[in-house]
Amino acid sequence: MKQALIISLKVLAVDMPLLFLLGTAIGWILAKKRFKGREILSLLVLLPVALPPSVLGLYLLMFIGHVPFLKHLGLLFSFPAAALAALVPALPIMIQAARSGFASVPEELEDAARTLGDGEWRVFRRVTLLLSRRSLVAGLALASARTLGDFGITLMIAGNIPGRTQTLPLYIFSQMEALEFAKANLAAALLVVVGIVSLALVKRMEEGRYERLV
């Protein structure tokens, strides 16, 4: 189990910064920018929530396997594929949280910062980001839990290779197949704890809107 746990943690370590950066950026664009195709983009980024993991896995497999440059990187059935597989279904959660967090910051506050001498990046850093930090932390907690829990997409594009791509959920599956219920239960309990902790964090973040985080 130790191996699987380490791989899961490595996936998390790679995906959390990516979730935060991509989720915040896309969420900000969707919340604050008016442009053609915005509605289509907002549906598109939500698609991974609505599609079955096997369908997503299939398309990712075909995409990575056929696009000339990606084809030669040797991504499939390796650790990067596991990280990507876990990222795809978690990203919409982060984007939605960031989007609603940014949208809830009154535009007047951002305008006030502008008239007080801030450029756009400073407005974002000093007002928008600080006022939506609770939504962002809550979103990141939920998205991280989803990252840890991915099964289907990982299986489709990264496989179930112990020591390389076997994450905790896949480990549970393998142990079940081998009728090793004790091992499966232990890993499952670990993931349950992670789930509860992340939900507790979400609740804590939702309790105060503008207060400092600690």
């Binding site: 007047e108 506050l109 502008r114 008239t115 001498g117 450029g119 503008y210």
Partner: protein, 371 residues
């Protein structure tokens, strides 16, 4: 011979067209007009939060805007402070941090502390906006906007949500800050009391068009009932006298009289203001509200103008021309075409007293919040 601040703006939002020319020395300007006349939009365009279709803005020898012409300075470079209608204090920052927001350098918190002291908020440094009263929030917002020493301060009906004694004290405070700092102010309002007591130059804005500007002193020109105000402004400004008779307090002018609320204490010459949406038209067959009975006048429709969803009616009654405003669908049953006879009435509580001898201080009984 250009003024400290000059602006010429032409902007279109949907059906609404805004055309306005403003100028100010280092003085107080008041932009007066009813809701929806484009006042807030004007401030946004000046501050650089929106860009007009065409326009120019000069301030303190700097050109901030020239469209077309390609000069559009972003808000951060304009040195124009803005006090928002809803104040827009940063909820995650305390009073001191709010005031220091637009400042930089190692002394920023010292300067911010001095500003808090200047607006009577010494010792409130650590309070968050949610822990401040309405008036205290206003003061923080003023200090925050003034602390970076702007070349012009814009105020968007900032005292709207406050009751009248507090409004009065904040207006005094604002005038004091203007004297001390020399920062010119452009104050936007639809309250007549604000116009009279902030003083300076008054710009009248109506339906996106500037109808003119006068100095506040000209407001008290009693030589004619149909003076500068009537030609330019919005609402009914009357000059006359307060006297007691028939057991009540009355405002009397040449050919008419209106009963005032019993709480009115002053006597002698005054001007009064009645917002056009507070002049009511009476139906012939419906009993009149007892409060209105003493203040019923018979008149004749002189002009009827419908713009958007509002109808403006000009009625000749009691020797004056009255301006009325109501939603376009109202009074459908009455045939209010030009030349028709009408009965109009004013509730005593809708009459604002403006005492011109003392340059426009106001009285407790005023109740003019239109719509």
């Amino acid at each position: 011979m250009s003024a400290w601040f000059e602006a010429s703006l032409d902007h279109q939002v949907g059906e609404f067209r805004l055309q306005i020319d403003l100028f100010l020395e280092r003085e107080i300007g008041v932009l007066f007009g009813p809701s929806g006349s484009g006042k807030s939009l004007t401030l946004r365009l000046l501050a650089g939060l929106d860009t007009p279709k065409r326009g120019q803005v000069h301030l303190g020898g700097r050109q901030l805007l020239e469209v077309p012409g390609g000069i559009i300075q972003p808000p951060r470079q304009r040195r124009i402070g803005l006090v928002f209608q809803q104040l827009a204090l940063f909820p995650h920052l305390n009073a001191l941090e709010n005031v220091a927001y637009g400042l930089s350098g190692s002394r920023r918190y010292d300067i911010a502390r001095e500003w808090l002291a200047r607006v009577d908020l010494k010792g409130m440094d650590q309070r968050y906006p949610a822990q401040l009263s309405g008036g205290q929030k206003q003061r923080v917002a003023l200090a925050r906007a003034l602390a970076p020493e702007p070349d012009l301060l814009l105020l968007d009906e900032p005292f709207n949500t406050l009751d009248s004694p507090l409004r009065r004290s904040l207006r005094r405070e604002l005038k004091r800050l203007h004297r001390e700092t020399g920062v010119p102010l452009l104050y936007v309002t639809h309250y007549i009391e604000d116009v009279c007591s902030m003083g300076g130059r008054i710009f009248f804005l109506k339906d996106g068009q500037l109808t003119g500007n006068i100095n506040v002193d000209q407001l008290w020109n009693t030589s004619s009932q149909v003076g500068a105000w009537h030609a330019l402004g919005w609402g009914n400004l009357l000059h006359g006298e307060v006297c007691r008779r028939e057991g009540g307090t009355w405002f009397v002018w040449g050919e008419g009289a209106l009963e005032l609320p019993a709480s009115v204490q002053i006597m002698g010459p005054v001007s009064v203001f009645i917002p056009p949406n507070h002049v009511k038209i009476l139906y012939q067959d419906i009993p009149v509200d007892p409060q209105l009975v003493p203040n019923v006048m018979h008149g004749r429709v002189v002009e009827r103008v419908s713009i958007g969803s509002t109808t403006s009616l000009y009625v000749a009654a009691a020797g004056l021309q009255w301006q009325l405003e109501f939603p376009i669908k109202s009074y459908d049953r009455l045939d209010l075409k030009e030349g028709a006879d009408v009965r109009i009435a004013v509730r005593p509580g809708s009459i604002s007293l403006l005492e011109h001898d003392r340059g426009g201080s106001e009285y407790e009984n005023t109740n003019t919040a239109p719509g």
